[in-house]
């Protein structure tokens, strides 16, 4: 099985022991994301610092496959405590990797464990699973800043 490309150890590890899971107070913005194909749903909360710059907490709850759960856990680890512009950079890199069909040299400094997701990029139907949490955090940040509702 070449499946181990997708399900790398580190992914299964995050899946089985998700970091930072659970919805916490206080938070400055919340987002609810749905994957219309499978019906998976995730709720993400973000707490930004007063100056709306530092991501002080990310908390989440949801149902999902190993890929979406692991992606959320990895995101948590990688982004917590960073500032918003760093998040944007990391997020952009992650998106580029996922859209690369697996032919990509991801920046490990930026993505951390996230580079393990490169195998998923070969399975178009699963890319959305990996991106769901990223879209959630992005949206929660926008909402924290009051740019949207």
């Amino acid at each position: 099985m070449k499946l181990s490309n997708m399900y790398q150890e580190v992914i299964l590890d995050h899946y089985k022991s998700p970091r930072g899971k659970g919805l916490r107070e206080p938070f400055t913005g919340q987002s609810h994301q749905v994957n219309p194909t499978c019906g998976d749903e995730i709720t993400v909360r973000v707490k930004l610092s007063e100056d709306k710059n530092i991501i002080e907490d990310i908390s989440y709850e949801g149902v999902g496959c190993s890929i979406s759960q692991a992606a959320m856990s990895i995101l948590f680890e990688q982004v917590l405590g960073k500032n918003v512009s760093e998040f944007d950079e990391i997020s952009k890199e992650f998106l580029a990797m996922m859209q690369s069909k697996g032919i990509y040299e991801p920046n490990e400094d930026l993505l951390g464990d996230g580079i393990a997701m490169i195998g998923v990029a070969q399975y178009p139907a699963r890319i959305k699973c990996a991106l769901l949490s990223w879209m959630g955090v992005k949206d929660a940040i926008i909402r924290s800043k009051g740019e949207n509702k």
């Binding site: 099985m1 070449k2 499946l3 399900y7 019906g39 998976d40 749903e41 999902g64 496959c65 890929i67």
Partner: protein
Amino acid sequence: MTESKIKLDVKTIKLDFPILQQNVRNGNKLVYLDSAATSQKPKIVIDAVSSYYEKINSGVHRGAHYLAELATDAYEDSRQAIAGFVNVKAEQIIFTKNATESINLLAYGLLNATLQAKFDKKIDPRLVISENDEILITELEHHSNIVPWQDLCLKTGAQLKWIPLNADGSLDYSSLEKLVSKKTKVISVTHMSNVLGTLTDIELITKYAKSVNALLFIDACQSVPHMPVDFQNLGADAIAWSGHKMLGPLGIGLFAATTELLDILPPFLTGGSMIETVTMEKTTFAKAPKKFEAGTPAAAEAVGLAQGVAYLNKIGMTNVFQHEKDLANKMVQGLLEIPGVTVFGPHDGNRGGAVSFALQGLHPHDVGQVLDDLGIAVRVGHHCAKPAMKKLNVQSTTRASTYIYNDESDVDIFLDGVTKVFEFFGSK
């Protein structure tokens, strides 16, 4: 037509389907268990479509030249063949693009009747939906048999009522006594569930529908391709299904209805080919089926579908149904023997070939991925039936569904695959 009872010669049948000859991931032979989503196509269907374009393609019903005559004949002969398949007259068959459009044809037809009734006294009151009316569907429906009715209710003020789904996957028929009343204007139910393989008790529902003179619509997407369906026996006012789930090409759906309903129902899509005459002041419409077929029709697809119907007729639908029941039975029994597997819906043999199940602790996407890696195509997700998912208390399921080109060895490979899923995630 009486059919001789035969066991399907699946080995030979498989050879008629080019797609099944190929290897997929890792060189594994394709085991296609996603026919409830769409069926594969035998060579005669594919060739009929090509041949239409290579030999007779031209504007159906719009030309008087040689090709136009051939194309029109081929298109109408296909209608006849499909009509025979469900025992109606050719004029009772409307070609649409898919079952979803067919259901919209009915829902929008009722909306149009309701809007027109305000200035046209001739609209039949059975078709006029008001705030005091109710439309009854079930919690087991496909989104395509939910959203059009939600939408119609939103626009007319009518109430949408639901026949509940029991935890075991059967419909709660005891609710009918309370749910069906003089207010019930439309009852719309699936004939066979695309999620659970459950068969609906149409006889009972027909009785209730008739008792209050409600329009009865049956979503036959999963029944017409898989079992003998005689429109006259159903007692429904209309049914709909898709060609692509019964060996036919994509892009062709069916709507069959009583002559009476087709007469009184206002048209849905309007434009060329469905008119009698057009003036700047007023347009009058052709009779059914043309009335409901606006624009250039999907003639090649209709011609392809007729070949699919011929293929099924040769096997015999009673035999098809028995074959699928046998496979479903083997599948359900096999799954139940694997520790940690839950099977949703009926565990007995009185069901269709769609089997939904869950592996303890594993998400369907992950289950499907491992099976896919073994060459086994199943579907994971909500199967366009979110209310049913909610009732079954799951986000999504894995579904294996069979057809005439599947045999016991496919089921064996599949069951073996399920075991391997547990191994894969357990051993890591």
